[in-house]
Assembly symmetry: C2
Homo-oligomer: 229 residues x 2
């Protein structure tokens, strides 16, 4: 009995495991389809074609197109968190952490030049399409923005940035650098965008940095972080 | 005869005029359709529905969907030029002109919060769809970028910005502010984005400004253009 029970348990686990694997494989295909066609380009039919599965097979894993779209956004968010957020917050509190988060973000956008960032393209796709998909997307973007503004606030607390620094203003400016990078590298295919984003980030940070940090940054990278006059 | 000829001429002119009016009306409807649905959302069929014309009526003015899309991009560009570029270049050479161009751009994006900017959303729509529509769009965007980088270069020549200013770097940064404004105001519906864009622009300009201009700006707007430490 114990053996049979154990066997049945293993069988269930294997079955569950296989179901999860299939779901993960569909999600993977959905993610790459979404980065090419947009989240609105996602449909059960298109996904069935890409994965070679039947429509009902895909449908068994995602009950509706909307559920599929939201699952893709969550999957993208999980990957983003794993690649950008988690390594970034390993860095010491304050400017080093903010810089690590920004650098991870730049690398991710640079790596996505051929596929596109679902956050950025999704924002344009859904900026006038209210509903659960837009809400899921905005929720993920706001979660990332909150993580960044927390890192900025900690930089102020650590004395790395000036006490009167407005975290939302800093966030607005560094987010702009990422959007500019995505636009120039992906749409205009213009070279040098990654370096421009990094240069500008150091300039933004230097502006808001407290005098002690500013002096340290200037000493470490002459010319890069302070105006050359 | 002279009278008849004159009459026929007037008739032709009126006919031509009417054709142009119809075309302009279709283009107007197409522009607003494109800002809602994206340039890819434009089709002869959708436009016929919106204007209450027959498909063949719309088709007579725009021979293909692609021609329609390109005409809409050109029309958007003409309006952008009229509203942003032309008033902007009336301002005196140097920083005043650069500031006027940026301010016009901010106002245009702010006014478009409910419709969306075709340049910005089009860039995301067409960043991986090569072809004549993408080329037309990129051409218009690059033309505007060239106008801005010319204004930046003139600011350097006038001595308003430092001689070692990299116009492409400044352009990258101020374009990012516009993209951030568009994202936050339109997708996140977050208030205060227009003011954030303006504040950041003054900060960018102050960074690259020559000492004389920097002192003048600091005197005119204490705290806004220079770090408060």
């Amino acid at each position: 009995m114990a053996h049979a029970g154990g066997h049945a348990g293993r069988h269930d686990a294997r079955h569950l495991h296989k179901g999860q694997q299939t779901r993960a494989a569909i999600l993977d295909a959905a993610l790459s389809l979404a980065s090419q066609m947009g989240i609105e380009g996602l449909s059960i039919g298109a996904l069935a074609e890409v994965t070679g599965m039947s429509k009902s097979g895909v449908f068994a894993h995602f009950g509706s197109r909307e559920e599929l779209q939201i699952s893709v956004i969550r999957e993208y968010h999980a990957k983003f968190e794993e690649e950008v957020f988690r390594p970034g917050i390993q860095a010491p509190r304050g400017l080093p952490r903010l810089r690590a988060l920004f650098e991870g973000w730049v690398r991710r956008v640079a790596a996505e030049i051929d596929s596109g960032c679902i956050y950025i393209s999704g924002a344009v796709e859904f900026d006038d399409r209210p509903g659960p998909v837009r809400d899921a997307l905005a929720g993920m973007v706001l979660m990332w923005h909150a993580a960044l503004s927390r890192a900025i606030r900690i930089s102020v607390e650590c004395g790395h940035l000036l006490p009167n620094t407005d975290p939302m203003q800093v966030l607005f400016e560094i987010h702009g650098l990422i959007l500019s990078l995505h636009h120039d590298a992906r749409f205009l295919r213009s070279p040098g965008s990654v370096e421009r984003a990094r240069t500008a980030f150091e300039r933004v940070v230097a502006y808001y940095a407290s005098p002690a940090v500013q002096a340290a940054v200037a000493a470490a990278t002459p010319g890069a972080a302070s105006p050359s006059h």
